[in-house]
Amino acid sequence: MIAIEHSPLLLAINANAERHPDKRAVCIAGSEEVTYRQLMERIRSVTAYLHSQGLKQGDRIAISAQKDLEFIYVYFAAHALGVVNIVVDADSNRKKLDYILNLMQPQMAFGFECTQCRCIEYKDIDYRCPEVNDIPNLLADDVADLIFTTGTTGLPKGVQLSHANIFGSADNINHFIGNTAEEVEVLGLPLCHSFGLGRLRCTLIKGATMVLVGNFANLKLFFNAIEQYHATGFGMVPAVWAYIRKFSGTRIVKYAHQIKYIEIGSAAMPLTSKEELCELFPNTRICMHYGLTEASRSAFMEFHECSSRLGTIGKPVCDKVDIKVFDDNGNELPDGENGELCVKGNMVMKGYYQKDADKEAWFGDYFRTGDCGYRDPDGWLYLVSRKKEIINIGGKKVSPVEIEDVICALDGVEDCICIGVEDPDVVLGEVAKVYVLREGCKLNFEEIRHAIEGKLESYKIPVFWEWIDEIPKTSSGKKQRLKLKK
C-alpha cells in the first residue's frame, strides 16, 4: 500500500497499469524494458526501500537523472513517500553540484558520489523491503521536485514544483500535441532538464511507451530506435536539428510517415530550419514550445498551422494558462507594445527555494519570465529578447537575436553572438558588438558587414567586430550574452 491520491501523476500511471498491465511503459533502447504493471510494482517496492532507509515526508534526496529504469523508480517512489526529488545532472560541473548539495543538504543521494550525504548506487537498491503501512498525509500542492535552473546569470536557482504542477504541465502538453496511448516516443534528450523529464511524464500519464536512448550523438542508434520500436514521436532542441542535418543529411525523412509529432523547445530556431521541417515532415505535428523550468511549456505553436507566422512563440498552451505583457511596474501593456512576458497557470512553480530570488520573481500571481516580448492583435505572442540582453541604441530597443539571425543566415558564417556595448561617441548610449565564431567562417568582417547592409536598419549594424573561438552557451544551448558583457 502506498499513497498516490496526492499525486495525479501516480494516479494516472496506476490507472494505466490497471487498464493495460502488459503494455510496455519504458524501454532502454536495445536493452531492458518494463510494462506498466511492472513499473507500478517497482515503484511500490522502491517506496518501501526508501522508507526502510529512514526517509520520510518532507525529506530530500538528490537523484542523478540517468537513462536507467532505476532512476525512474526512485523518482516516482519519492513522490509516493512525500520525499522531495532534487534532480541533478551528476556529470555537470562539480562546482554547481556542490553548491546545490550544500544548499539543500539532502538526506541521501542516488546514482552518484558526493561528500554531503549518504550515497546509494542504483544497483544496490533492495526491492524486497516490507510494504509501507503508515500512509503520510500528503497534498497535491506539496513540493514534489526541485530542479535548479542553469541560470544565465548568477547562481543556480532552485525551482520548486508541486505534484499538481508537474502533472498539470504534462497534461497541458498532451492536450496541445494531441498525444494518445498509442504513441511510442524515442527520447534522446537528457532527463535532468525540464524538457526531457517532462516528455517522460507526458508519455507515462497517457499510457504510451517511452524508449530511452543515451543521447543524439550517435544518430545511427537514434534512427535504429525509431525503426525498431516503430516510434511515432520525439523531442529535440534546435541545436539537435542542426546536428541531425549536418551528420545525416535528410536520412530522417525515411521515417516522416510514421512520426506523428515532434516537440521542439529550449532555444530559438532559425526560420529556415522551421520551413525545412515543414517540408520534410508534411503530415507531422511539429510543436514548438516557449517555457522555462519555472513555467514549463507556457506557450505552444505548431509549424504547419503557423506557416504564415513562423516567428511567433504561439499562444498560451491551454485555457488553464494565461500570459500577459507587463511594463516594469507590473502594469499590463496593450497589444503591440514590448514588455515582460509574465505567466500564470497550473504548471507555474510554487516559488524559488531561495527566498531572495523569489521576491523579484512575481507580479502578483504572474511569474516574471525576464523575457521581453509582445502580443499581436490576434493574440499571437512574439519573443524579442531576454530583458537584460536588449540593446538600447539611442532609445530604440534592439534584440541581439535579430542581428545574430541575419548574420548567421549568411553562407560561410557558422555562428555568432551579439551584445550591446557603450557607444564610444556617447551619442547612442549603446551600440551593437558581434563576436563571430572563427571556426568554419569563410568571410571576413568587411564581407559580412557588406552582406547584411540592407537587411538590417543601419543603426542595427554592429559597430564592433571580434572573432571568438567558442560561443558561450548554457547546457541547453541558450547563448549566454551576459557573459560577454564586461
Binding site: G214, A217, A239, Y243, R251
Partner: protein, 80 residues
C-alpha cells in the same frame, strides 16, 4: 603522416577536445558512449580533427563516423 601517427593524433585530439584522459579513448569507443562525447562534443571533435589534421570529411561519410576506429580509418583513407 604514417598510420601510427594518425592514430595517436586522433586519440590526442579527441581526448583534449572533450577533456578526458587519453586512456579512455580506445579504438572501440563509440560516440555517445561517454557523457562527454555528446552531440555538441562530437561537433567539436569533427571540427578539431579537420583543422588540426588538415582534412575535410565528406558530408555523406559523417553519418558513418560512429567510433574512434571509424574515424581513424576515414582519415587514413583521406590521407592516402
Amino acid at each position: 603522416m604514417d598510420n601510427n601517427t594518425i592514430e595517436a593524433a586522433v586519440v590526442r585530439i579527441i581526448a583534449s577536445t572533450i577533456h578526458v584522459e587519453e586512456e579512455r579513448v580506445t579504438p572501440d569507443l563509440s560516440i555517445g558512449e561517454i557523457p562527454e562525447w555528446d552531440s555538441m562534443g562530437n561537433l567539436s571533435i569533427i571540427a578539431a580533427l579537420e583543422s588540426q589534421l588538415d582534412v575535410e570529411f565528406p558530408m555523406e561519410d559523417l553519418f558513418e563516423l560512429t567510433s574512434v576506429k571509424n574515424i581513424i580509418n576515414e582519415i587514413k583513407t583521406i590521407k592516402k
